[in-house]
Every structure is written in structure tokens, then in C-alpha cells.
């Protein structure tokens, strides 16, 4: 079977799932975009969760007993996590559009590389600040010092490892495609 002979069959392929103009019109909204919908849900969930934490953290974590700048840093770290999600939303929302597929992929690759760095840095910063906040009133001794250090390092390494793994896989996928295109 020659590929050239299959051209007309390919061109005459019709879908059984033809969309109406109304259905297509609805797809203009980000609410119909499956990935954006997921990010939106996550954004709303995390925003509500962190807002609740911020409202009650004075009681939960004795915020009033801590040095003022730790409270400010905690708020900043939460804002950082939410900003990171907003940035992800923008990255997905922006069309991958240049004069050619190769140029588009190249532009997109540098964009996701930048976003992956922002993603990892913001998570590490947020975890560091949160740990710092939780331990800011601790009366330290050698045992507590080492235990918290082990917990902190384990949390950071785990975060960096998994985030790096996810991003590397995505970056490799785009790089491989560009390599195939030559």
C-alpha cells in the first residue's frame, strides 16, 4: 500500500463527531479548555485553602508570638505559590504561535524552561519560609536542631526531585521533537 495512494482517503476523512457552530463558539472560553479548567480549579482550591490558613494562622501557629517579619514572609510565600499557579495558567493560555512550527517550539521551549525554574524556586522558597516560620519560636538544642534540619533537607530534596523530574520530561519531549525536525 503506497502512501501517495492514501492521500485522497486521508483528505476525505470526516469525523463522526462533527461540532455545531454553537458548540464551537463555547470553546472560545477558557472554561471549556480542559487544562485551563484544571489549573483554575487548583487555583481556586489553593487560594481558598491558603486564605483560610492565613485567617487562622495567628491561632494555629501562634503568629502573634512570632517576630513580625516571619508573618510577612509567610504571607509572601503563599502569594508566591499562588503567583506561580497564575503564571502556569498564562503559559497554557498563550497560543504557541510563530511563523513556523520549529520557531514556535523553540519559543515555547525557552518559555517552559523559564517557567520550570520559577516553579522549582518558588516551591523551595515557600517550603523554606514555612519551615522557618514554624521553627522561629523553637528553643533550640542540638537534637531539635538536627531533627529539623533532616526534615527540612528531606522536604527540599523531595520537592526538587519530583518537580525536576516532571519538568525534565516535558522539556525533553519538546527537545526531541525539535531534534527530529532537524
Amino acid at each position: 500500500m503506497e502512501l501517495d495512494n492514501l492521500k485522497s482517503e486521508y483528505q476525505n476523512t470526516d469525523s463522526n463527531d462533527s461540532k455545531s457552530a454553537n458548540e464551537l463558539s463555547k470553546m472560545r472560553c477558557s472554561g471549556s479548555h480542559p487544562v485551563l479548567k484544571g489549573i483554575k480549579k487548583q487555583l481556586i482550591f489553593e487560594s481558598v485553602l491558603w486564605t483560610l490558613i492565613l485567617i487562622v494562622f495567628y491561632d494555629f501557629f501562634d503568629g502573634h508570638l512570632r517576630v513580625f517579619y516571619w508573618n510577612v514572609l509567610l504571607i509572601l510565600s503563599i502569594v508566591l505559590v499562588l503567583l506561580h499557579n497564575v503564571l502556569g495558567f498564562i503559559v497554557v493560555k498563550t497560543p504557541i504561535n510563530d511563523t513556523s512550527i520549529k520557531k514556535s517550539l523553540k519559543k515555547y521551549l525557552s518559555k517552559i524552561k523559564r517557567y520550570s525554574i520559577a516553579s522549582i524556586v518558588s516551591r523551595v522558597l515557600a517550603v523554606t519560609i514555612f519551615m522557618g516560620f514554624l521553627t522561629s519560636n523553637v528553643v533550640w538544642n542540638t537534637h531539635k536542631h538536627w531533627v529539623s534540619l533532616v526534615i527540612f533537607i528531606t522536604m527540599i530534596i523531595t520537592q526538587v526531585y519530583f518537580l525536576n523530574k516532571v519538568w525534565n520530561k516535558r522539556i525533553k519531549k519538546i527537545e526531541n521533537q525539535m531534534e527530529i525536525l532537524g
Binding site: E2, L6, S32, N97
Partner: protein
């Protein structure tokens, strides 16, 4: 809705088979195809204000659709088997339908970048047009398409 959007909605409606074909090539399950269709349509609407009319609207639509499919990170829920054998098609189906199914099954086993090249070729674009859309030289298109043709021939046999 603005007049510009209304016009473009008609264009998408008339050429939606193009989007369906891209979805059929890049996704396996009905659910994933539907998701990709929505992603592509959304991106087409977003990108349309920047369409300068330098190429045919369908060529431009293909470029956006392929870009979206290639850059999408959503994992398919069903892992494609990389077996060399093409699934058998029920005997009661016509020869054309059987050929089409075997062709799509073979294309789905190619790399994402190869899928883009072969879909543009099957759509009837010449090497110059494909070179413009992909962003590689005309010679490079020829070399890569020959390799892909051989691959597909082996898969369809």
C-alpha cells in the same frame, strides 16, 4: 460576538475535519481526542487576531493545531503499544475504511514531529509549503518524508 469572530467561527465550522484529523493522529481515546479538540479550537480563537493572511487559512489552522498537539503535556490514559503490527479491522467494513484505519493506526505509531510532517503531506501540501509550515528546508522535508514513508510502508504491510 464581533463580526470578525463570527467569520472565523464559520471558518472553523467548515474546516473542523482538519482539527479532527490532528486529534485522531495525536490521541488514542475518545476522551483525549475531545480534550485536544477543545484545546486546539481555543488556541485558534486566541491566535486568530494575529492571522495576517500570508498563507491560506487552512495552512495557518494546521500550524496552530499541530503546535498545540505537539506541545500538549497531557498524558494519554491509554499507553500506545509500539508493536509493529497494525490492529485488524473488522471484515464487514469497506476497503477504503479499512485502509484509512490502517493508515491512522500506522501514523499514530510515529513520533510527534513525524506525525506533523506526514499529516501535511497527506493533506496535499507540496514540499515548499511543508517546509514553510515546519520551518525546515525543502530538501530536509524530502529526506524526512522518505524515511517516514518507508516506516509507514513497513507498519501497514
Amino acid at each position: 460576538m464581533s463580526t470578525q469572530n463570527e467569520i472565523f467561527l464559520k471558518v472553523i465550522h467548515q474546516n473542523q475535519a482538519l482539527i479532527h484529523k490532528v486529534c485522531n493522529i495525536y490521541r488514542d481515546t475518545i476522551e483525549d481526542k475531545e480534550d485536544l479538540f477543545q484545546e486546539i479550537t481555543y488556541q485558534l480563537f486566541r491566535a486568530y487576531p494575529k492571522f495576517e493572511g500570508r498563507s491560506k487559512i487552512t495552512t495557518w489552522m494546521y500550524r496552530i493545531a499541530l503546535n498545540t498537539a505537539m506541545a500538549s503535556f497531557r498524558k494519554s490514559k491509554v499507553i500506545i503499544s509500539k508493536d509493529k503490527a497494525i490492529p485488524e479491522v473488522p471484515l464487514e467494513e469497506g476497503e477504503e475504511s479499512m485502509n484509512k484505519e490502517r493508515l491512522f493506526s500506522a501514523i499514530r505509531q510515529l513520533d510527534d514531529a513525524e506525525k506533523a510532517l506526514v499529516s501535511l503531506y497527506l493533506e496535499g501540501m507540496d514540499y515548499s509549503e511543508i517546509a514553510d509550515v515546519i520551518g525546515i528546508t525543502k530538501n530536509n522535508v524530502g529526506v524526512r518524508l522518505n524515511r517516514i514513508k518507508n516506516k509507514i510502508k513497513t507498519l501497514i504491510k
